[in-house]
């Protein structure tokens, strides 16, 4: 059956070839080829016109190493420690050492959350000491330097003088009240 159909196609091709112009001949040839290929993909009717090119058919080189999000302790070029960009996209370091973050799920399914819950989701909160210590190790010294931007919204939070551990300026001396 296959042979019959093929023969009919070839006959059709031969029949059309003689009276038509060159352009038309090419299109009709292509048409026949397309139909046969579409219907009978097993039949390899495309004869190789030229010798196959080695370089074109060769598999393209893929990058051997895939990127990871973990900390690089020694870079290839300078042997320096590198920061984890995923941390810097999500966290912010206050100058007294704590890191702040957003809350998980703050953009998810807001239609079913009540206003107090949505209010809490909008807040930015502290990480705890262990987490801050880990994040400190995941970024380089550049991110631990103090910054003095103009109109910085985090400016009031960079210094925490209320507690002994994070105090930076000496405690003002308040003389005891005179008791009479």
């Amino acid at each position: 059956m296959f042979r019959n159909i093929l023969c009919s196609f070839s006959r059709l091709a031969i029949a059309t070839r003689t009276p038509q112009s060159n352009v038309f001949k090419n299109t009709s040839d292509n048409l026949v080829k397309q139909i046969t290929v579409r219907n009978f993909s097993l039949l390899n009717i495309q004869a190789p016109l030229a010798a196959p090119k080695l370089l074109e058919n060769a598999p393209k080189p893929q990058p051997a190493a895939t990127s990871t999000r973990t900390v690089t302790k020694f870079s290839i070029r300078k042997g320096k420690r590198k920061s984890v960009k995923a941390v810097l996209k999500r966290f912010y370091r206050l100058q007294w050492g704590i890191w702040i973050r957003t809350k998980a799920g703050r953009n998810k399914k807001l239609w079913k959350k009540n206003p107090p819950q949505k209010r809490r989701l909008r807040q930015h909160v502290f990480c705890n000491s262990t987490q801050s210590h880990m994040l400190d190790k995941m970024v380089g010294p550049y991110w631990r330097k103090p910054r003095y931007f103009i109109d910085d919204p985090y400016q009031p939070y960079h210094v925490r003088n209320e507690f002994e551990r994070s105090r930076v300026t000496p405690k003002p001396y308040i003389p005891p009240e005179d008791r009479i």
Binding site: V71, K89, R90, R106, W143
Partner: protein, 291 residues
């Protein structure tokens, strides 16, 4: 008995008895201490015996064994957006300034600028870290009482009010990184033997601040500034003190927008060894440094 045997027996009579303290060890009974290699005699260098700590095969930082890791758990927030482009102005408070004046680290009979503040040796500035000078903050504004002609890079309204109430003048002025390098360590800069650069104009986003008379910008109209002084005095409820003629000249002294040091113009070379100042004579150079 022969003579020799007798002698030997005689000798034996005076020798000590064979006991545990004077016999030699069996061959191979005593082991030599081994000389270990390394700092502490070939031990484990504080890493213990076996396990992840001995092999230093810790889990990577932040990894939580199948959990969604803490450092990837939260949504993005542009906390650090544009951090490398924004200008920074390290703070100097009015309290600091008053203390510097009281301890004679700053001379108030001359105009005070960044060079005077840097020459106190108490402040650091890093132009390569996007530092563009100092900002004067309002801490100690209530006790500030010095009559000064101050040039600072950034201020706020209460600071301007505090200085002008005391009878002083403030100007906010912009310096580019190259000019700041010259001002931070003046001696080092002059020793390089290069001409004083001309000060660049502020970047487009800072032009507005430095040409605003309310900020006492160095590019604003002096007449508008004197009007703004009155406006601020009314707003904060003080009267501008009358100015003495003796120090008026000092208080009114301002730099040219291209000038970096008081009394020195761009293009001049200061020779510290010969104690001479070299000025450009070429017309082209003069035109370049004046423009």
């Amino acid at each position: 008995m022969s003579n020799t045997t007798e002698k030997a027996l005689n000798l034996l009579r005076y020798l000590p008895r064979v006991c545990i303290s004077n016999i030699r060890d069996n061959p191979g009974a005593h082991k030599q201490a081994r000389r270990g290699r390394g700092q502490h005699g070939g031990d484990y260098h504080g890493a213990g015996n076996k396990g992840a700590k001995a092999r230093q095969s810790y889990t990577r930082l932040g990894y939580e064994m199948g959990n969604n890791p803490f450092y990837l758990r939260f949504p993005f927030e542009p906390y650090y957006k544009g951090h490398h482009l924004k200008r920074q102005y390290p703070p100097v408070s009015l309290l600091n300034l008053q203390k510097l004046i009281d301890t004679n680290r700053i001379d108030t009979t001359k105009p005070i600028d960044l060079v005077a503040i840097m020459n106190t040796g108490l402040f650091r500035l890093y132009p390569d870290q996007q530092h563009f000078g100092f900002q004067l903050t309002d801490e100690g504004a209530d006790i500030f009482s010095a009559k000064i002609n101050l040039e600072i890079q950034w201020t706020s309204e209460p600071v301007i009010a505090a200085i002008e109430r005391a009878g002083g003048f403030v100007t906010t002025a912009y310096y580019d990184a190259q000019s700041l390098h010259a001002m931070i360590n003046t001696k080092k800069f002059f020793e390089r033997g290069i001409p004083i650069p001309r000060r660049m104009m502020p970047p487009p986003d800072a032009i507005e601040y430095y040409s605003n008379p309310a900020n006492r910008g160095y590019l604003s109209d002096p007449e508008k500034i004197s009007k703004e002084r009155l406006v601020l005095a009314q707003k904060y409820g003080y009267t501008l003190p009358k100015l003495d003629d003796q120090i008026l000249e000092m208080l009114k002294e301002r730099k040219d927008p291209r000038q970096i040091f008081y009394g020195l113009h761009p293009g001049w070379v200061v020779n510290l060894t010969d104690k001479v100042i070299l000025k450009p004579l070429d017309e082209e150079l003069k035109e370049y440094y004046a423009s």
